[in-house]
Symmetry: C2
Subunit: 358 residues, 2 copies
Amino acid sequence: MLKNFKSVEKTIFGRGGFSQLGDVVDEKRRENDGFAVFLVDSYFENKELDKQIPSKENDIVLFVNIQDHEPTTGQVDTIRDQILQQGLPSSITGIGGGSVIDICKATSLMVTNEGSSTLYQGLNLIKKPGVWSIGVPTIAGTGAEVSMTAVLTGPGKKLGLKCEWTVLNQVILDPDLITDVPTNQWFYTGMDCYIHCIESENGIFNNEYSTAFGNQSLALCREVFLGENAGQNDENDEKLMVASLMGGLSLTYSEVGVCHALSYGLSYVFEYRHGFANCIAFNQLEDFYPEGVKEFKEMVKRFNIDLPQNLSANWSEEDVSKMAEISIRLEHMWHHAFGENWKERIDLKMIKNLFRRM
Amino acid sequence: MLKNFKSVEKTIFGRGGFSQLGDVVDEKRRENDGFAVFLVDSYFENKELDKQIPSKENDIVLFVNIQDHEPTTGQVDTIRDQILQQGLPSSITGIGGGSVIDICKATSLMVTNEGSSTLYQGLNLIKKPGVWSIGVPTIAGTGAEVSMTAVLTGPGKKLGLKCEWTVLNQVILDPDLITDVPTNQWFYTGMDCYIHCIESENGIFNNEYSTAFGNQSLALCREVFLGENAGQNDENDEKLMVASLMGGLSLTYSEVGVCHALSYGLSYVFEYRHGFANCIAFNQLEDFYPEGVKEFKEMVKRFNIDLPQNLSANWSEEDVSKMAEISIRLEHMWHHAFGENWKERIDLKMIKNLFRRM
């Protein structure tokens, strides 16, 4: 049985695209109780972007704090309850990085599905489609703008609400919005895209479809992070936005692998942000992705990225065990990376040893 | 104002995907009057594929003859009238090449929009969304499986029904279906994809999004038509299906150019099939696409494709004038190729001279 992959229905790509958000939101205002919701990375509160949010009377604009940890089920449940006090919105727009977009995707589902979002962490557990969801990335690399998952950390696990209704209905990819991203964040998030492609292509669910998207995304990443004109500039901002989308599509039709499985453990226990956690993990995975890790290290060097080493010196045995337990439960990732008999290739002890290298 | 590009909602990619068509059709059977319609290239009548069509009682299976000419408005109107005698279908599936898929897309719209399809040739003239449309390509290259147009020849013009509702709702890309395509057809249709990319990238509506899709599609075309392992084989069938999709996405976010403008004239006057007409035209366009035409000629040579020369020797002055008139009206294509002031770059006389080279 092949996947029947759901796409984002509508895409605006280009500079100035953000100015069309108002039109896009207005098109849906006859649905449900009419009002629109804007979930915005709190980083933008009182900044230029804040003033351009096309909210009208009765709309809800919520600034979401995702500086300190990855999105949680509790955070989504709270936002959902707050929105429902006013009724069912006509649309929910997420303006921010992968965290805010995942919160937007999850909230869109949770306003129509009863109970806590913890009930729906997993594949195809959601019962009903959500309200119209719109994603406006302000950083490039996560692939959240096209993926069919909204990754949440809940009590006991970090796992996505994953089903076809999770996919955004509309995205606006405006390269103007990502020009001011601080270098480290730009790099860590860009590497999320790079790692998606490496993992997507190196595993059993890989196919010509995911390879084609992965290869083009990798070509763009190489231009952005290693090319003659590498670095943050207008041309590369556009390229990285397209790379992110293509990397997201590559993994959606394939799967992520070892790095993401470990990274989820790191984020669960230490609340490391996803892109950073990926970089910490990927840096130690030359046994599994030799070419990819080699190139990754060149990119780290090129931009003098401060990638912490020997973090594990300060981790307790309990921390390491907890991370390994979170990690080994992500069976679909290990299955992709090592095949059906993945348990013959990797076990809890080996995973702990990988964490101890970090 | 940037385009808000509509995507195919759901995609199945992979060998054996055709066996999931029944499930996909069944999911919609509660809509409208329940029955499903299958429009099938008449080439497949009484062939193996014919027996695998998952039709049920009350469904309509129509074999569509597209051997002799490009899809016409009359053909679509007739099919529409025949379907409506039984009611409004829950879905319409097109199984065939670009012609059948365009007929499927157009028929899906015409069962809900009144009057002749000639009324709707152009941009955003359609009033209402159509019924659920499913495309199953049996040849790769046209991009019809992802494009937002259904090209029809009507009295006086060859022009698409072009709007966001034209885009298919579901595609099934099964490389098993394209293994037996005769070499010439495989080549002409594959070149449609190649030419989409060359035209998309060489014009003013080009951007990083269309370039990324175009570049990856071109890379795949080069493997399929010029690589070490070039030719019709399992791996290349998969690659060409992905190339076709990406080429279609590239042009959708950009535009086609000189070759398509001329090719529409050829098809209108002589009923040449689209892929063939493209090849006849592109072969003479080294002034506009020097690198692309050079590479195209290498591919023609590699596969000993019989590409007729000096056709124009048998064309009347009236034929040439008619083609040039059809061609020059495709203003969006000339605009893309030469910029806003395209009328300073090309005129009817020059277009006639291009036809006389063929």
